[in-house]
């Protein structure tokens, strides 16, 4: 291949990839605009919150995948154009274009990798991206309501939030160790600064310091593990690594066991730190207490979601290699899943009044989305021991994390510390289906898909629950200047609407039946049951029981205890912007069960590409 063709290939690849990478690019542009607006004198009159909001809303709109047929998309023609222009000059076509006779291959579709294999663009990526960007939109609105970054520091804080979001999106879509590391760094380093947003406060600076030091250490260990893994497997590209690993184990060459084990363990340490899983959770309560409630929401939802995404990519990417390539069924599934994309998004886009009628259509399509009931990996394949090891490690960590988080939450008097331990516990619940998915790889492809889909559902529920709780904490902090649980005493008499919302969110966090938390948890437990991880299921159930009491204790203080005398008035009526914001987050939690079917279809679609 000539040098010139290489350039043409690279150009084509980056151009086609850029089109589906637009949301992140818009976020980056917003950062630059926020920076440049400080230069001119009139720039300070423009609200930085507004710019950040507009940027993230545009990014969210762009993250909805556009039409996937060449005729329907005018942009596809422009995409293909540079390639065809160059083709006239060079007689031999670049191999990729030559391979695909149809024009439809000229741009990226869900399921492809973009940027020459560095990033996966599939259902899971699309889901995480939408979740994260939507979260940023919601968070920015919350910040506008509570006014925590003041005028001076607004632009800085929003820049950090948007920058971290780009990092999160890299993490969840990474197909290469370099991207994973880059994503982790891009996500965590701005988070360290965010933890110290209120830079004049002693505890805020202490929180930032602890976060930064532990985080830097964890990142170092993770990089060392990555170097060992990449070196032992001869590549840093995840699919290639998985192939090489399968080959190594199949050949019975076991001299690299120790290297691989240590490398994998060190990567797991880094991920566990991001997830605040049990032995590496110690930063979490301190940072949550020191940082503001808004930043806590960011750390507990976005950061955890991205870390779970990366864990999924690693765990399934490294061990989900088929024993032999499945030719025909995979192609069929690919076709249906891309078709499904449109349907699902139609459902989500169209207003919810029509949802009931559309549910039938979705139900009809559901059979197509479901993958066939066959194992991804051959049951006697050489990767099965590796899968078992991964299941054991993640399962053990999940069990310990959940139990520890729930037990340690009991003694807390500060609501943010309590929520920190609650976050730890939920990270444990989120890790359970990952273990289940890996365990099901060698048994049942559809089951593994269900397990991953349960992560998706749980994250959707978790998004509303945790953001709602932290929003209430932030709003109450602005009124009563306290975050101690005892200061919440009898607050129901001043703002009953808010406490009702808080109650609903708390019940949902426990996982009581009609609420969103129940939906997610039920599905996770179903996946565990199917995977045969009965012990883990039992621990999860037991922990749900544990968690009832400390959540309800907060509610009890709010409702039953008498009001203290010295407290400043805390009334937040539900018919006000803050009240409506909280209500808007609570309503989906309450009624998510109604939309069981669309969510189920959507989550299954998001999970389907992972097993192609």
């Amino acid at each position: 291949m000539s040098f010139y063709q290489l350039i043409v290939n690279a150009k084509w690849e980056s151009w086609a990839s850029t089109l589906v990478y637009l949301p992140e690019i818009v976020l980056c542009l917003t950062i630059v605009i926020l920076l440049l607006l400080r230069l001119p004198r009139w720039g300070s009159r423009i609200s930085s919150l507004g710019i950040a909001l507009v940027g993230s809303v545009i990014a969210f709109v762009l993250s909805i995948p556009f039409e996937t047929t060449a005729e329907a998309n005018p942009e596809a023609a422009t995409t293909a154009q540079p390639v065809s222009l160059l083709q006239e000059e060079t007689s031999p076509n670049p191999p990729d274009i030559e391979a695909s006779s149809e024009e439809t291959k000229a741009y990226k579709q869900p399921g492809d990798t973009i940027f020459s294999g560095l990033i996966v663009y599939d259902g899971l990526t699309i889901f995480f991206r939408q979740l994260l960007i939507l979260f940023v939109v919601a968070l920015l609105i919350l910040m506008g309501l509570t006014g925590i970054p003041d005028r001076d520091s607004g632009a800085d804080v929003f820049t950090l939030i948007l920058g971290a979001t780009v990092g999160f999106s890299l993490m969840v879509s990474s197909n290469h160790l370099l991207i994973a590391f880059l994503g982790v760094e891009m996500a965590s380093v701005p988070s360290y600064v965010l933890a110290g947003t209120l830079k004049g406060r002693r505890i805020a600076s202490e929180a930032a310091l602890k976060f930064a030091l532990y985080g830097a250490g964890a990142a170092g260990v993770m990089l060392y593990g990555m170097s060992l893994m990449a070196g032992a497997l001869g590549s840093a590209h995840l699919p290639t690594m998985a192939e090489n690993l399968a080959q190594l184990t199949a050949n019975g060459v076991d001299d690299r066991q120790l290297v691989l084990f240590l490398g994998g363990l060190m990567i797991l340490v880094g991920l566990a730190f991001k997830l605040s899983a049990f032995p590496f959770h110690f930063w979490c309560p301190d940072v949550f207490e020191g940082a503001t409630a808004e930043v806590d929401a960011f750390l507990s939802v976005a950061s955890k979601a991205a870390a779970i995404g990366l864990l999924l990519r690693f765990a399934i990417g490294i061990s989900g290699v088929p024993g032999e390539p499945i030719e025909a069924p995979a192609a069929v599934a690919q076709a249906t899943s891309t078709e499904e994309a449109k349907n699902t998004f139609d459902i989500l886009a169209i207003s919810q009044t029509e949802a009931t009628s559309l549910t039938f259509a979705a139900q009809a399509d559901q059979e197509k989305t479901k993958l066939e009931e066959k194992p991804v990996t051959d049951p006697d394949s050489s990767v099965v021991p590796i899968q078992d090891l991964i299941v054991f490690l993640i399962g053990l960590m999940a069990a310990l994390t959940t139990t520890f988080g729930n037990l340690a939450a009991y003694g807390q008097t500060n609501i943010k510390r309590l929520m920190a331990y609650s976050t730890i516990a939920h990270a444990g619940y989120l890790m359970m289906p990952v273990a289940a998915a890996v365990a099901l790889l060698s048994k049942d492809q559809a089951g593994a898909q269900e397990a991953v889909a349960s992560v998706v559902v749980y994250l959707i529920a978790y998004f509303f629950m945790n953001l709602g709780v932290f929003a209430i904490i932030a709003l109450l902090r602005n009124r009563i200047r306290s975050e101690e649980i005892e200061d919440y005493a009898g607050i129901v008499r001043e703002s009953p609407g808010l406490v009702v919302c808080f109650g609903i969110l708390m019940f949902s966090l426990i996982g009581l039946p009609p609420l969103a938390g129940f939906l997610g948890k039920f599905w996770i437990f179903a996946a565990l049951w199917e995977a045969g991880l009965i012990t883990l299921l039992f621990i999860g159930g037991l922990n749900t029981f544990f968690s009832i009491f400390y959540y309800l204790r907060v509610l009890k203080v709010m409702v039953l205890s008498p009001e203290p005398d010295h407290r400043s008035p805390a009334a937040i009526p539900i018919i006000s912007w803050p009240g409506l914001y909280v209500a808007a987050l609570t309503v989906p939690v309450a009624i998510l069960l109604v939309f069981w079917e669309p969510i189920r279809v959507y989550s299954l679609w998001a999970a389907a590409d992972l097993f192609q």
Partner: protein, 428 residues
């Protein structure tokens, strides 16, 4: 060299290696040491003339040319003091760090075509990195002295050098971009011929960049008007307040040594290296094409040329020092971050756009670039049937300037793309 020592002279291998390593080291040491003596004398003369006096006149005859040697003897014979409150280990170590970094930078600087101790592929980068390390000597000296003047001087130096490394690095990118290599020999060889082919005259952007480079280089070697670290009007003598004797003189050796090395860098990157304003040596046939002897002769001329240009650069530095007043620390930072940095970014953009304005680089430039590249990577090309000229041109264009492929070159590339199966790139 090692092979010839073993085969022709019968040395054992280890001794051959030792000799081959010693010769460049000794030569470079002499360049630095003798150079420093000479330039210290020169500075005293130049400053004298600028201030309308004579400077040294006694030692060594009419011009006082032995003055710095006498000073050196005096400094060596002085007592080596370490203050009681100092961190003695670091205090003793600091001057050696400065000097050894200064010397290490010379390893990759070519003095004439092929006369370089270590022909590194990343020479430009390496020199910059090593010069950046020199700051540690100053910082440690400032810290370990246990005196607040020294500490303030050290901190100023740290802030200044770290900031100025940024525009300095960006300035270097422009010539590197044009030559398509970070090897200093290649960059200098690209500018062979008349002085119009020096990179400073390549386009207006490079002309401006040269002066930015010169300013930043002044700051990075801590010369006036950027000598905040030793500002004697405020800080007594800054980082070397507590030093005396040999260690004190080592700092000055390092200062003059790095003055020479940054000015050598400027000459190599912008002023044609050893290639003179007029290509006399190639007219009279003193090149390697006509054999080893004539090439060496030509190299001596080039060496003289190179050293003369470097000296001019140093005289310019002295001129600046004795003319301009010292800046305040905030002014130093303002110049770096508010003026130099945006300006050099602008120059970088302009240089990228230049082919749109003035068309692709001339054929002779491309040819020279290709030859310089070939010299570095002498690979037997397997292709025989292809038109040698065209392939050479297109390859080197594509290698060095993939972002500047414009219409004309594209055609050239297209015609040759079917035949260039062995790019000079694929050395593995």
């Amino acid at each position: 060299m090692v092979e010839s020592l073993i085969e022709n002279w019968g040395f054992p291998e280890w001794m051959a290696y030792l000799i081959a390593a010693t010769i460049p080291c000794v030569l470079l040491l002499h360049v630095v040491a003798v150079g420093a003596l000479f330039f210290i004398w020169l500075e005293r003369k130049v400053s004298g003339r600028i201030q309308d006096r004579l400077g040294p006149t006694r030692v060594g005859g009419k011009y006082g040319w032995l003055q710095s040697l006498a000073d050196g003897v005096k400094l060596i014979s002085k007592e080596d003091l370490v203050p009681a409150g100092a961190d003695s280990w670091l205090f003793r170590l600091a001057p050696y760090i400065s000097v050894s970094c200064c010397l290490a930078a010379y390893l990759t600087i070519p003095f004439a075509y092929g006369w370089v101790a270590q022909n590194l592929d990343v020479a430009v980068f390496f020199v910059l990195a090593i010069l950046g390390l020199e700051v540690f000597g100053v910082i440690l000296a400032g810290y370990a002295s246990g005196s607040k003047w020294s500490l303030l001087g050290g901190m100023r130096e740290a802030a200044q050098v770290v900031s100025y490394e940024v525009p300095l690095g960006l300035c270097v990118v422009l010539p590197v971009m044009l030559a398509g290599s970070m090897n200093l020999t290649t960059i200098a060889q690209v500018q062979s011929g008349w002085f119009t082919s020096w990179l400073i005259f390549y386009n207006p952007f490079l002309f401006v960049t040269f002066w930015i480079f010169f300013t930043c280089a002044l700051a990075s070697v801590n010369r006036a008007p950027f000598d905040l670290a030793e500002a004697e009007s405020e800080l007594v003598a800054g980082f070397h307040t507590e030093y005396s004797g040999l260690r004190w003189s080592l700092f000055f050796l390092a200062e003059y040594g790095s003055m020479f090395s940054v000015s050598a860098l400027a000459v190599l990157l912008f002023l044609g290296g050893w290639n003179g304003p007029i290509p006399i040596t190639s007219w009279i046939g003193w090149t390697f094409e006509y054999g080893w002897f004539w090439g060496t002769l030509g190299n001596f001329v080039g060496l003289a040329n190179f050293i003369f240009k470097c000296s001019l650069g140093i005289v310019l530095m002295m001129w600046v020092r004795w003319t301009l007043p010292r800046l305040r620390i905030d002014q130093v930072m303002t110049i770096c971050l508010k003026y130099c940095l945006p300006l050099v970014c602008l120059m970088l953009l302009g240089n990228l756009m230049w082919p749109w304005i003035a068309g692709p680089p001339s054929a002779s430039f491309v040819q020279k670039r290709y030859e310089a590249y070939q010299h570095l990577h002498p690979e037997p090309t397997t292709e025989t049937e292809a038109d040698e000229e065209t392939t050479a041109e297109s390859n080197s264009v594509a290698i060095s300037l993939p972002q500047q492929v414009n219409e004309k070159q594209k055609v050239v590339l297209t015609t040759s793309s079917t035949t260039d199966s062995s790019l000079p790139l694929q050395t593995n």
